[in-house]
């Protein structure tokens, strides 16, 4: 087991990793930017190292500074958290060549599965369904039309270099297609300097369901069931839950096997998540893989009773997984709400600023993963996460009721948060019925 680990991250995930280390008896070195010098979790670290000024490029994203800190801090391993360098294959490679363990998959796995096109190719090779689409980019509207007709409408026209929902158009027929294609291409050229387009089947009213996997260095690879993350806004998750109301045991088994087949093909180690779309006919299609621990990991931890972060650390230190596939059981229902410092009434504009009053919810079944406190400043340099409220109860109905109660108790003054919107979503009949999909929030809550 490691003697000392460096946490190359900040905020709530740094605190999460710090907690796991403390419980495992591992010393912790925390790096921090000048902007984060008042972070309270730094008090619990065995050593803290200031690595630079606020901006991520000169702090949490700066590989040289992180590695110097690892050297000076005399650590054996680095936990990258999520975001920042967690899916940077080059960083994982540099750690390896410096003799420092990167707590995550091998650099080769990150490079392979992190490339969306390569991941889809592997999926096809191992017989995992992918969203039907053009194998390569499409050069002309005529070629595009051919692809669209062979896939079948409706189709999504996507910028290959795109992101953040830009350069995307949906077409429902040949007539709509040409206009949509030309519009998407010029938008892509303008926004990304690259007008390359590819076509994908547009799966309407789809659910986003992801499978958590965990692998060790001894060839063991296990899946820990699904998380339904259909409650999103502009492709940003807001509410996640497990089990998914749409997944029965047979579908879970098939999706789990598909996830393992993909992970095996990538010789995957440590924690990872395979994302799928599930359509109304309960067909599932592989979208992409996240080669890191995820924000919503507590949902899986609560329904399985397995500490994923501790498992990450154990596996990275060479230990075998502490559980087998037959030991994994989803018990009860867990829901997570992300509380972000954003103005939900005004285009989700980030609201950095000082939190004047902070009162977190509690009581049976309520878990709060947050690094904030009264007086803490949410910085404009980083994401707007205030914290996560996660509830675990025996039934989904009870979990919803308790989450509504918990969100009502939560007090955050000084910045606006998404708590009220989450509460509203949880109070809707459709959410209660589990009748949701990835466009749900935008259709029902944001068009006013």
């Amino acid at each position: 087991m490691f003697r000392r680990i460096l946490i190359a991250n900040r905020g709530e995930i740094a605190l999460r990793v710090l907690r796991a280390c403390k419980e495992l008896g591992i010393e912790v070195v925390c790096v921090y930017s000048q902007e984060d010098r008042d972070a309270i979790y730094l008090r619990q670290a065995d050593e803290t190292i200031c690595i630079g000024p606020g901006p991520s490029a000169t702090s949490y994203l700066d590989i040289a500074r992180i590695l110097s800190s690892a050297e000076v801090g005399d650590v054996e391993a680095i936990h990258p958290g999520y975001g920042f360098l967690s899916e940077n294959a080059h960083f994982a490679e540099v750690c390896r060549s410096c003799g420092i363990e990167f707590i995550g998959p091998a650099p080769e796995s990150i490079a392979l599965m992190g490339n969306k096109a390569r991941a889809r190719t592997i999926a096809r090779e191992v017989g995992v369904p992918v969203t039907p689409g053009s194998e390569t980019t499409v050069q002309s509207e005529e070629q595009g039309l051919e692809v669209a007709r062979s896939i079948g409408y409706p189709v999504m026209i996507k910028a290959a270099a795109g992101g953040g929902g830009r350069g995307m158009r949906v077409a429902h027929s040949d007539i709509g297609f040409v206009n949509a294609f030309l519009a998407a291409r010029s938008e892509a050229e303008a926004a990304f300097k690259d007008g390359s387009i590819y076509i994908e089947k547009f799966i309407e009213r789809a659910r986003h369901v992801e499978i958590q996997v965990m692998g060790d260095r001894h060839g063991n690879l296990v899946h820990l069931g699904e998380r339904d993350c259909s409650i999103q806004r502009r492709h940003q998750k807001l509410i996640e839950e497990s089990p998914s109301p749409a997944i029965d045991p047979d579908l879970r088994r098939r999706m789990g096997e598909a996830a393992l087949a993909l992970a095996r093909a990538a010789r995957y180690e440590n924690a990872g998540t395979l994302e799928f779309l599930v359509d109304r006919e309960k067909n599932f299609y592989f979208m992409e893989m996240n080669t890191r621990i995820q924000v919503e990991h507590p949902v899986t931890e609560l329904v399985t009773g397995i500490d994923l972060v501790k498992e990450q650390i154990r596996v990275a230190s060479g230990e075998p997984l502490s559980f087998r596939q037959e030991d994994v059981r989803l018990s009860g229902a867990a829901i997570e709400c992300r509380i972000n410092a954003e103005d939900a009434e005004n285009g989700f504009k980030p609201c950095p600023g000082k939190i004047d009053v902070y009162f977190p919810p509690g009581g049976p079944g309520v878990r709060v993963d947050s690094h904030v406190y009264a007086g803490f400043r949410i910085s404009p340099c980083y994401d707007s996460m205030v914290g996560k409220v996660i509830v675990h109860r025996q039934t989904r109905e009870e979990a919803i009721r308790v989450m509504r109660r918990a969100l009502g108790e939560l007090v955050v003054e000084g910045v606006k948060t998404t708590a009220a919107l989450c509460r509203e979503i949880l109070s809707s009949l459709r959410f209660e019925r589990g009748d949701i999909h990835t466009a749900f929030v935008e259709e029902h809550f944001l068009n006013r």
């Binding site: 000048q34 190292i49 200031c50 690595i51 000024p53 500074r65 590695l67 110097s68 800190s69 000076v72």
Partner: protein, 165 residues
Amino acid sequence: MDLEWLKALVALMNQNDLAELVVEEDGRKIKLRKAGDPVLRGTPFVLPAAAAQAAPPAAAAGAAARGAARPATGDGAKGEAAADLAEIKSPMVGTFYRSPSPESDTYVDVGDAVKEETTLCIIEAMKVMNEIKAEMTGVVKEILVANGEAVEFGQPLFVIQRSAG
């Protein structure tokens, strides 16, 4: 209070991009500060009483223009000197070394004069030796870190007494 004199002071401030101007004369003191920017952009410029009285406003403006942004000479100088200490802070994370190699002499000691290009120390990170330069003229007053100690970003390493020129 002579309005023309006040106008001349304001013009003086604008010409020399001063954020604050303090004038003392015959036991009276006037302080002019530009609104809006709470951070002083330069050191407050103080006209010693003798200079303000002896020179007519136009000449004072000329003299001040030449001497702007520097501590005033004469009686004001002694008060300014003690305040002109600068901290050299570490620009990186690494290990601090006072000499180029274990056998060599230290780069600087307390009391040494330094110029802009003078190397003060080395900070070693990932086997790369980074020379840290003084980037100012002055005298080493204090060395705050021991040889071989680990340093972090922003950590004060040296105190330099800046000299004019």
